[in-house]
Symmetry: C2
Subunit: 315 residues, 2 copies
């Protein structure tokens, strides 16, 4: 009997309600999301002190219904490399979700992207205030490193995870991408600049997720390199799909403000190449992501299906 997944959930994560592959991805994503949510709940119960003053805002942002894509990719890549999810991968998945959430909280601030809506709810600085949002982001970023330092079974693995996360999320990755994105607003936007922004702002965190999963699954160097390449390409395709959705979907459906890229003068492929060529580029990146998985057999089918499904997502 084929397991089914309720259409509410598929709609929730933006996967279309028809097609066998996307159905398979939706079922597995639901299962992985449950693991991530449980791990986050356990960690928050352990780490949030009653008098920290930030428990409420941290829970509000971290427990909002995100897609958990990056954290699910940690779990999947651990499975692909080792045959199963282990407790290190659960912690690594929670850590990357904390860093992703901190980046959303800070990016939404008035001085940054100035957004009111995120994951279908008022953004952190709207639900609380700006100071709380700044400190909530700071606390989440710090907590990610704290749990990796304390909860991973092997010190060498823990250090590799911390090194990878800090490198991809910081000056050599996400933070630099966000800075470039802000600076580029209302500029002409060359293809080179857009590639720099997408690579750093988005794709490196996807690569970080696949690398962390591979590290937790004790992947060999060739497997690690293949999963890194896959993560990078999927991330690049994801960002183009995101820009397409921004232009074509409603805020209510997306759970975040739609139509913002044009309004704020963001540089995107859509603006540079138009809709059809952008869709073709996203498809090409998904194909390249799938091609990177060549060293793997059937065990990586979920990652192949994911690369294809992400092109069809509706939010």
């Amino acid at each position: 009997m084929v397991e089914t997944v309720d259409s509410d959930f598929r709609d929730d994560v933006g996967l279309p309600t028809c097609g066998n592959d996307t159905a398979g991805v939706a079922i597995q994503l639901r299962d992985k999301r449950e693991i991530v949510d449980n791990t986050l709940r356990k960690l928050l119960a352990q780490y949030i002190e009653t008098d920290s003053g930030l428990g409420e805002s941290i829970k509000y942002t971290l427990e909002a219904p995100g897609k958990r894509l990056r954290s699910a990719m940690v779990l999947w890549c651990c499975e692909v490399a080792s045959g199963s999810v282990n407790s290190d991968a659960e912690i690594a998945a929670a850590a990357i979700e904390m860093v992703h959430t901190y980046s959303l909280v800070h990016d939404d601030l008035p001085a940054m992207d100035n957004d009111d809506l995120r994951r279908g709810r008022p953004t952190c600085h709207k639900a609380f205030d700006e100071a709380t949002a700044i400190l909530t982001g700071d606390a989440l970023l710090t907590l990610a490193f704290e749990v990796l330092a304390e909860q991973i079974s092997d010190p060498v693995i823990a250090l590799k995870l911390i090194q990878r996360l800090a490198h991809e999320a910081g000056l050599s990755g996400m933070v630099a991408g966000q800075m470039a994105d802000l600076k580029a607003q209302n500029s002409a936007g060359t293809r080179e600049l857009i590639e720099f922004i997408h690579t750093n702002k988005t794709a490196k965190m996807f690569r970080c997720a696949t690398a962390m999963g591979a590290i937790c699954g004790r992947a060999n160097d060739a497997q690690l390199a293949a999963l890194c390449e896959y993560g990078l390409k999927v991330g690049l395709g994801f960002q183009i799909a995101d820009d397409i959705l921004d232009a074509s979907a409603t805020s209510e459906h997306l759970g975040k403000t739609a139509g913002k890229d044009v309004k704020t003068g963001k540089v995107t492929y859509l603006k540079l190449l138009g809709m059809e060529k952008s869709k073709l580029l996203a498809k090409k990146l998904a194909d390249e992501a799938i091609a990177a998985l060549q060293p793997f057999g059937k065990e990586a089918d979920i990652l192949r299906q994911l690369a294809a499904a992400l092109l069809q997502r509706t939010r």
Copy 2:
């Protein structure tokens, strides 16, 4: 021949220009500051990529003339525990300076303490803009963990340092203290609340510094505990001295805005106990810090002198 330290430097770090003990502290602080500054310069040359867009703001904030007290304490405590400064301690000192600087950059933001002046220069969001300041803080915090994960000789030591820094700087320490400080503005302010704020906002980062130095110096458990207790007490005394200076010195001399605590309705011992009792409390904390050093001999004299000198600082 007694080494001398030019009065410019002593004035710069706020140590009075008379008294043998404070002269000794000033000389040693100058030497330690040189080590910290050199390490920071080397790390920035290695880690700042030309296209990160944040190189300028990071250098601006990190290379501003700070006292380097916390980072010097890392070096001193390594020396006390092991007889000399090692390269691990140099990295740990640079990492805590990055975290301290990130906290200043974020605390100075308009939504937080809204300050225009820091270390004698316009604050980061004034010299650049708010978005740059938010991302500069984020990058510095992330970089601290990256350098600890990559540059420490022994994985077990690296993990201990990361764990300690994340714990004291995050939800169980500095971030919680800053949140409580903001929330307490214009409240009556009980002694318990002020103690919570001072402990978390300030003293835990001093304790973190002494602990990190002890860890780098391979201190035994008793030494580590003594240096932690010393760090906590020195930090508590430091914050009271800071509040006293805020009320009694000029902005020009402090290099940051003076008289802010009354204006913003901060809860302080000064407000609760008055000037004389606050000074007595700071003195009592310095005495307790010195008493905590009982397991150590002459090798800890610099720490004893520091505890006393900090009461007399003028900025």
